[in-house]
C-alpha cells in the first residue's frame, strides 16, 4: 500500500498548493474518509457499445468501484465508486457555439483526470470552456461523497459533499456542501455550504442561501468529521441493495422494459415498478414501487420510491423523490430531496421546475400547483409560499426580485428560457422523444452496453494500484 499512500499524499499536497490563498487544507476532510483497505475490495468496470467511443487510459491510479464510459484518461488519481460518463463529449468536427463564435472542435473531446481524488462523484457532460474544447480536465481536485462535476473543468479545487458544479470552469475554489454552482467561470472563491448560484453575466443572476443550521441536519461535513446527516443515512440505508447488483454477474430485472427504454443492470429495481416507453434508468439509480411514464428518467444516484412520474420528467443526477406524484414535464434538479409525508403526500403539478438542490421534506400533504418555479427548503405550505412563484410571473421580472433568502437580478424570461431549453435538451439527449426510428438518445443507446471489469494489484507495494491499461477498439 506504500504507493497508494504516496499517491494520496501527492494529491492532497497538490490540491493544498492551489488552495493556499484560501488557507484551505483538504487533508482533514478526506484523510479517513476511505480506508485504503476499501480501495482494494472493489473492481472497476467500463462499458463498451457500438454507440459510444472507446478510449480509456488508466495509469498509476486506484479506480475502486468506479465506472467508465466513452473517452477518458486517468493519471495519478484515486477514484472511489465514481461514475465517469464520457457519453456526451464533443466529437471532432462539431461546432461549439460561444457568444458570437462558432468554434470547430479539432479532435474528439476527452475527460482527463490528473492528480485528483474523487469519492462517489459523478463526472458527466462536456467541457463548456471555449478555451479547452477538446479537454474536459479535472486536475489537482478533491471531490467528496456524492459531488457532481457536470461539464465543469476543474483545477486545484475542493468540492464538498453533495455539491454540484455545473457547466462552470473552476480554478482554486472551495465549493461548500450541497452548494450548486452554475456561473460560467469562477476563480479563488470559497463558497459557503448551501449556496445556490446560477449566473449568466449580462442576463441574470440568481442566488439562494439555505439556512445553515437546518441544512446541517441533512448534510454536515467538516474537517475531521465524516459526512453525516439525513442524506447520508438515506443512502446508507439502501447500500445493501446496491451491493447485490454489483456482486451478481448476470442480473435480470423482472420488470418488463419496452424496447425503446433502458434499465441499467447496475440500477436497483424493487418491484412493483413500471418502465414506460423511452424511459432511461441509469446505473446506481434506485427504484422501489416507482411508476415512470413515457420519456421519464432517473439518472445516477437518483432514488424514486413510492412515487409516480407521469412522463417526460427529468430527475437529474442525485435527485431523490419519495412519496410523490409528479405531473408531466416536471423537472427535478440535481441532488434535490423531495420527501412526501407517509403515503402519497407530495403532488407537483405539470411543467413545474424544481431548482437544483431543493429540499422539500413535509409532514402533511402538500400540492405544488402546475407551472411553478420552486427553490430552497420547504417543510410546510407557508415555506412553499416563500420559496415558489408561478413561472409566468417570474418570466415577467425585468430588473430584480427578492423573496427571503432568494435574490434575483436580471431578465426573468431569459432565466426561465435557459432552464426550459436545458430541460428540453436533457430529454432529447436521454431519448425521451424517440419515435421508433429517429431521435435516439441514451435510453435507446444504453441497451447495448457490455460491461468489463478491472482489478488492482492484490498484494505488495503496489497493492491497490491498477496496472497501466490502455483500452481501444
Amino acid at each position: 500500500m506504500q504507493e497508494l499512500q504516496k499517491l494520496y499524499d501527492r494529491i492532497v499536497q497538490r490540491a493544498n498548493i492551489n488552495l493556499r490563498e484560501l488557507e484551505f487544507d483538504v487533508n482533514p476532510y478526506v484523510q479517513n474518509l476511505i480506508p485504503f483497505e476499501q480501495m482494494v475490495k472493489f473492481y472497476a468496470f467500463f462499458g463498451i457499445s457500438p454507440h459510444h467511443p472507446l478510449n480509456f487510459q488508466f495509469k498509476h491510479s486506484n479506480l475502486a468501484g468506479s465506472y467508465f464510459l466513452g473517452q477518458c484518461k486517468v493519471t495519478n488519481s484515486l477514484l472511489y465508486k465514481s461514475d465517469i460518463r464520457g457519453d456526451e463529449l464533443k466529437r471532432q468536427g462539431d461546432l461549439f457555439q460561444y457568444q458570437n463564435f462558432e468554434i470547430p472542435v479539432s479532435r474528439d473531446e476527452e475527460i482527463d483526470i490528473q492528480d485528483s481524488m474523487l469519492i462517489k462523484t459523478l463526472v458527466h457532460n462536456f467541457s463548456h470552456d471555449p478555451e479547452t474544447l477538446e479537454e474536459f480536465f479535472i486536475k489537482n481536485t478533491v471531490a467528496a461523497n456524492y459531488a457532481n462535476i457536470h461539464g465543469a473543468p476543474s483545477d486545484g479545487s475542493f468540492v464538498g459533499s453533495f455539491a454540484t458544479v455545473d457547466i462552470t470552469t473552476m480554478r482554486d475554489c472551495v465549493i461548500g456542501n450541497f452548494s450548486y454552482i452554475q456561473a460560467g467561470e469562477i476563480y479563488h472563491l470559497n463558497i459557503a455550504p448551501g449556496t445556490i448560484w446560477v449566473r449568466n453575466p449580462d442576463e441574470f443572476n440568481f442566488m439562494y442561501q439555505h439556512p445553515v443550521e437546518a441544512l446541517n441536519e441533512y448534510i454536515f461535513f467538516k474537517a475531521g468529521i465524516a459526512p453525516r446527516g439525513i442524506f447520508i443515512d438515506f443512502v446508507e440505508d439502501r447500500k445493501e441493495a446496491f451491493q447485490r447488483v454489483f456482486d451478481v454477474v448476470n442480473i435480470e430485472h423482472v420488470t418488463p422494459v419496452p424496447s425503446s427504454a433502458s434499465l441499467d443492470r447496475y440500477a436497483v429495481n424493487k418491484p412493483p415498478t413500471h418502465i414506460g416507453e423511452n424511459v432511461l434508468v441509469s446505473q446506481r439509480a434506485y427504484l422501489q414501487n416507482a411508476w415512470l411514464g413515457k420519456g421519464a428518467n432517473a439518472q445516477e444516484n437518483c432514488y424514486i420510491i413510492n412515487s409516480r412520474l407521469e412522463g417526460y420528467n427529468v430527475t437529474a443526477h442525485g435527485a431523490k423523490i419519495i412519496g410523490a406524484e409528479l405531473g408531466t414535464n416536471v423537472f427535478v434538479g440535481f441532488n434535490s430531496f423531495l420527501r412526501g409525508a407517509a403515503g402519497k403526500g407530495l403532488t407537483i403539478g405539470k411543467d413545474s421546475i424544481i431548482m437544483p438542490h431543493t429540499i422539500i421534506d413535509i409532514r402533511t400533504p402538500l400540492t405544488i400547483p402546475e407551472g411553478h418555479l420552486v427553490w430552497g427548503m420547504i417543510k410546510c405550505k407557508e415555506d412553499l409560499d416563500r420559496h415558489s412563484i408561478p413561472i409566468e410571473d417570474f418570466s415577467k421580472v425585468n430588473s430584480s426580485l427578492t423573496m427571503g433568502n432568494m435574490f434575483f437580478e436580471g431578465d426573468g424570461g431569459s432565466f426561465v428560457g435557459a432552464f426550459q431549453d436545458r430541460i428540453h435538451h436533457i430529454l432529447e439527449a436521454n431519448g425521451a422523444f424517440f419515435n421508433g426510428s429517429e431521435k435516439k438518445g441514451h435510453a435507446q443507446k444504453n441497451q447495448y452496453i457490455s460491461f468489463n471489469t478491472l482489478q488492482p494489484y492484490p498484494e505488495g507495494k503496489n497493492k491497490g494500484l491498477y496496472p497501466t491499461i490502455v483500452i481501444k477498439p
Partner: protein, 192 residues
C-alpha cells in the same frame, strides 16, 4: 518647500484615544470631545485611536465606523457582502440595503438599541494594517502618493518603530494646494 512627514503630523499626545474594551457609547463621547479639543489647527480631529493594554495603537475609529456599527441589523448583512462577491450590481445591493431599514422608524428608535450601545470598540473599529504606518522622515510627496493609492484619510507616523503622531489627509492636502498656489502666484498670503 520640502516638507517631511514630521513637519505636518499631529503629535499622538494631541489625539483622542480610547482603550480596547470600551463601548460604542464611550467611543461616541470620545469622538465628540476630540472635536472640541482641536487646539490650534483649523481642522478638527475626526478619528479616535484605539489602544491596547501595552499602549499600542490597534485600531482607528472614525464617524463612518460608528455609523456602520449603528446600522440596524437586517439579517442580510452577510448576504449583502456575498452578493457583492457574486456579481450582483451595486444598484441592486443599494436597493436591498435601503429597503431593509423601516421607513417609519425615527433616528432615536434605530440608534438607541442598548445592545448596540454596549458593543465593544474592537468589534467595529478599523483594524490597523501594515500599510497604515509611515516613517516621520518620509518626504511629503511620497506620503501624498501613499495616501492616494492606499485610500487613507490618515496614517500613523513612526519614529524608530514607535507611533509618535498622525498624518492627516487634510493637512497634506493643504500643503499640496499651498505649493500649487505658490508656484502659480508666487508667495501666497491667504489674508490678502
Amino acid at each position: 518647500m520640502h516638507y517631511i512627514v514630521k513637519n505636518l503630523m499631529v503629535p499622538i499626545s494631541d489625539y483622542a484615544t480610547i482603550s480596547e474594551g470600551s463601548t460604542l457609547l464611550d467611543a461616541v463621547l470620545s469622538l465628540e470631545s476630540s472635536r472640541v479639543d482641536v487646539g490650534n489647527t483649523i481642522y478638527p480631529h475626526w478619528i479616535v485611536l484605539v489602544m491596547n493594554s501595552q499602549n499600542k495603537v490597534i485600531g482607528k475609529l472614525s464617524q463612518i465606523n460608528i455609523l456602520r456599527a449603528l446600522e440596524p441589523e437586517n439579517g442580510h448583512a452577510d448576504m449583502l457582502q456575498k452578493l457583492r462577491n457574486f456579481g450582483f450590481s451595486p444598484g441592486f445591493i443599494t436597493i436591498l440595503r435601503e429597503g431593509s431599514i423601516p421607513a417609519e422608524k425615527s433616528l432615536e428608535d434605530i440608534y438607541t438599541d442598548p445592545q448596540i450601545m454596549n458593543m465593544k470598540v474592537e468589534d467595529f473599529m478599523r483594524k490597523i494594517e501594515k500599510n497604515d504606518f509611515i516613517d516621520e522622515n518620509t518626504p511629503l510627496t511620497t506620503a501624498a502618493h501613499q495616501m492616494s493609492v492606499r485610500k487613507r484619510l490618515s496614517m500613523l507616523v513612526t519614529k524608530e518603530g514607535e507611533v509618535v503622531g498622525v498624518l492627516r489627509l487634510s493637512d497634506v492636502f493643504t500643503a499640496v494646494i499651498n505649493a500649487m498656489k505658490t508656484t502659480q502666484f508666487g508667495s501666497y498670503d491667504h489674508d490678502e
